[in-house]
Amino acid sequence: MIGGLFIYNHKGEVLISRVYRDDIGRNAVDAFRVNVIHARQQVRSPVTNIARTSFFHVKRSNIWLAAVTKQNVNAAMVFEFLYKMCDVMTAYFGKISEENIKNNFVLIYELLDEILDFGYPQNSETGALKTFITQTGIKSQSKEEQSQITSQVTGQIGWRREGIKYRRNELFLDVLESVNLLMSPQGQVLSAHVSGRVVMKSYLSGMPECKFGMNDKIVIDKQGKGGGNGCQSIAIDDCTFHQCVRLSKFDAERSISFIPPDGECELMRYRTTKDIILPFRVIPLVREVGRTKLEVKVVIKSNFKPSLLAQKIEVRIPTPLNTSGVQVICMKGKAKYKASENAIVWKIKRMAGMKESQISAEIELLPTNDKKKWARPPISMNFEVPFAPSGLKVRYLKVFEPKLNYSDHDVIKWVRYIGRSGIYETRC
């Protein structure tokens, strides 16, 4: 199991050091600094073995978190834990920065004591932790409160406490998708997938039992409606759920039921590869005119309902390292050559569906002796569209709270779809 956990600043000075196991000595702190943080060459693996001691590290801005062990631990668990640790710290004091860590070091030690016992991760749900790790000094709890805390921390619903009350029961569902594409210069889709998340913000009283439904092909086919609602169903390749979702129920009936944590949580993640709506098509044309000139022409076409508007469109056209000057002409938006980034960045604020726009550029090159050819990195794109490129639709989210007297109808529900570009690249 995890033998120790260290937090360093970018210089390699240790900010937090908590050792759980006897086999980890103080020299482990230095070993990581010397061999990883100060390493001459960038370390090429997130797992490093130094003198039979294994170090797992993640970096958040310029803070290093390292877990140390001498045993054959579950590596996936260690990384999951480190991410969770970051989440917990963020939930308590915001951004993970050197200053915040120093300002909260007592809190961090207290947290580390609670969520990692002898190197075994314990309940690390912020909802539960916040009930008893408060940093507000003396807080005498009544006996009931105490046992409520302990039963929540160890209980089946460790992520939600009892007795939550809201005057207005409200919930927000965000379907956030990132659409990834790799296209050949000829317009052939090399790979495309959508990774989506359903994020739920709930402000519900009591212990509400929720049921979530979407246009999952398997469910729709089972119900045999045959698209009676005009609702296209989608094939989900795979999905994972927040720990509040009853997995065995999903496995058996494919229904998503849960008691949500209070506030925000990522209910579900999913991935689709079939019938993806690719919001934009990029058509590149690169021509080398002699040894000192390149002509680039890029057309983008939007491919969705004309009534919808895409936003924050940005096309990034890489230029060779020996570029000396660039002339750009574009019909829409603004385009600029950014020498420091070796790219022409073309920005368009808004663009409706079924439109197209074009940019052409002349790139002057310095003659070089460099034998190595320019690698021609792909043209990448960023955008945001107000629909889900996977085609996912929320069909319902039902709320039942048997003990309190509010019904599904009393809950105000909001649903929003946002599709963003993930890695959206076209080779040129």
Partner: protein, 1023 residues
Amino acid sequence: MEWANQLCENRQFGSKMTDSKYFTTTKKGEIFELKAELNSDKKEKKKEAVKKVIASMTVGKDVSALFPDVVNCMQTDNLELKKLVYLYLMNYAKSQPDMAIMAVNTFVKDCEDANPLIRALAVRTMGCIRVDKITEYLCEPLRKCLKDEDPYVRKTAAVCVAKLHDINAQLVEDQGFLDTLKDLISDSNPMVVANAVAALSEIAESHPNSNLLDLNPQSINKLLTALNECTEWGQIFILDCLANYTPRDDRESQSICERVTPRLSHANSAVVLSAVKVLMKFMEMLPKDLDYYSTLLKKLAPPLVTLLSAEPELQYVALRNINLIVQKRPEILKHEMKVFFVKYNDPIYVKLEKLDIMIRLASQANIAQVLAELKEYATEVDVDFVRKAVRAIGRCAIKVEQSAERCVSTLLDLIQTKVNYVVQEAIVVIKDIFRKYPNKYESVIATLCENLDSLDEPEARAAMIWIVGEYAERIDNADELLESFLEGFHDESTQVQLQLLTAIVKLFLKKPTETQELVQQVLSLATQDSDNPDLRDRGYIYWRLLSTDPVAAKEVVLAEKPLISEETDLIEPTLLEELICHIGTLASVYHKPPSAFVEGSRGVMHKRLPARTGSGESTESPDVGTAAGGSAPEAAPSIIPSQGDLLGDLLNLDMAPPTTSGPPPPTTGMQMGGMDLLGGGLDSLMGDESEPPHVPPRMDTPRSPSPQPPSPVYTHTDYTYTDYSHTDSPPDHSPTEHSPPAELGGDIGGSPAMGAGFGAAPAVMPASLNAPVGGGLGDLFDLGGVGMPMGAYIPPKIVWLPAMKAKGLEISGTFARRAGVIQMELILTNKAMSVMTDFAIQFNRNSFGLAPAGPLQVLTPLGPNQTIEVSLPLSTVGPVMKMDPLNNLQVAVKNNIDVFYFSCQYPISMLFVEDGKMERQVFLATWKDIPNDNESQFQIKDCHLNSDAASSKLQGSNIFTIAKRTVEGQDMLYMSIKLSNGIWVLAELRVQAGNSNYTISLKCRAPEVSQCVFQCYEAVLKN
């Protein structure tokens, strides 16, 4: 530390009420000042002071002097302050054990506190104070806490048992905490269950043979129930624990799989990977024709793919595991090639891993896509990645024949880029393509030769030289090219030197007239001016070969080469199986067994996949065994590195197998492997029998071969081998007087059959193994019939329990293995005056888990002076504990009078299972793989059997002879044994005619069994 002091200067910010101000204590009199503050009456001030102390501690300042003062602050109702003091205590208690005792009272008191959070905190902290004296005081509070009414306290106490066990294992056992911990597995609270499982698993790991976890269908059911209810971390503990269980039959295995599959949808990747581990392991037991089997295979792919959208560090862990899974079960991900395409901004460690998997998944169906991708990658920036991509193109060519042409043209395009490392890498892989498809792509040689000058890496140079030598007849200026390399011969690496030597000899054999000078030059460089023994030996061999029998030389050196295998870099099957059992853990990330990086006894036990054909344990369900009989071993050989590689390694060849990267391994290490196997063979070549086989032979002066021993064996780079006939007159090593090349020219055109010294056509190693009689290693694979197996050896019965000691009951007995069943054969004699009834028998835990498979069948009462013979079938699934000696068995026999105890030693040969015959290739690989430290040698004296008789005698006891070879009258038998618990023992038995002393070398991953195994040899052979 620096930043602490920096903050000190910015004290004005200290007014901002944040904790960072605690890092800003003034340097002078700091300790003194803190002391005063710690003893202050004001609570707030105390707390502030403790915070300062902790801050100093974090940055590495020694604040141990404040120990008593800090401990004084412990008695407080302020939880935050208490936690801080505890943190301090955990850090310094070890350095101040006497003072730590001061804290004990508070701990004990806190363990009784009304607040469960405080009780838990106390018991949690106490376990972290690693002071022996404290542990004694810890026991009572811990016992209470393990039975506390509050689950939070119980779950903390469960972990505390593991802590205590780490400090004092004996204490934990004596106090019975292990039993309490086992009880907690049935706790009503899922988190308590999870922590108890974690603690027990850890404790069990340090006692590999104990049966602590005692998993049975009932407890498994409890765990599966808790799995649905506990936290994500708890689910990981439980799944990891489940993976250690071996279901009784396929039905149980399926029902567990069904209950584990929902976990594949968990958001936590570690839960998913641990579930995958359980499924991969239990799937082994499912019959392949079962519908559920294919359903399960389909279910595994999506979650594995989803892991690739996790954070990069987790992606890395996932990819390392997928690499294993793809090797074990390629069908799972065969359609998912695209998800492994590299993204431009993947971290380099993710890119490299993805590339590896892409090659493994490449097939005819997707090769076009893969090649297009690889070509893109070859133009990227990162040198390692580009190299790997180029190599991958070559591997695709070898793997998918239809794509070979396209691959070659892609490689040629890449060579045209003139990027140095790309060119070199391309040449290395093209060499392999030539090997795989001889006489197909030689047209590209001209292009390759253009780049000769730019090659500066040994591997690329060696590859190029090999190509020139191999195709010397088609390259007009081959002699010039090779000559140009010869100039700096001594500056080249060994790899290049050896290759150059071979290439020039090949050239000479192909174009004898023009290259005599060249060959003499290289031979003299190799034999006289080099102090590298490998190079010198090879030089001499060529020399003698050329001078004695040029026709033979031609046949040997220019022999047809065996094809190279398609798959490379595969993990050896036994290791792969073990790693599959460690999915998700560090072992799977390193691709090494835990014993390679974990110190001490933890995790050293080798895990294995359950066998589909149950050897002993699945007797209840014989249908399972027959359903998929033997499919597991069948799969094994296909994953082995190609035979050529294997022998290549064994015999210390320098030409790396296809696409194995890196410099050649250190010579001496490699040599050991080869020498061990070759044993006397090589010794005799060197004419120095007294030299121990482990020491690579060194020749200080050109020595003449010893006149006596005939038929030595040798191999060289091109995987050819020969036994060249012994020359009577030692060759003269002065090149001036040496005139073979001249004679050679004439002879070479002659019929190959004229090679007088050859008993048979030169065999190519290892593709055809029909070596001449007495040809050494070749014989190893060419074992004739081994004679009829005889029955297993059964030692005579001896008295185990004399009547004196057992109130008149005398027990004598022995052990036997009959038809695969181990039996304990007992003779019970009643030497007392009264009738004995109610017999029962029990074994103590023992090294191999022997246990009675049924009750002791003594049906009728045993009257005075009566004797009864009983035979008791034994199973090997009982609890395991290492005994000393290993084969010791402690037995308790009960009758109506009393319980009697005795111990006896069983011959370990009864544990040798019937399927202990290893594949030859596996044998070679395993022999090589087991470190030499694990080898033990014994002498068996006064044994008068010949080797065949010995072999058949041993076979009767399930000691299987895999191969036999004869070197100068000494027979070497290579044998394998498999113990009922899956341990393999490999043996080499040397029998010399006319010498009644046998020598036996045993190699085993668990060397402690060697002594017992030797005893069996002795017993079997002498009876």
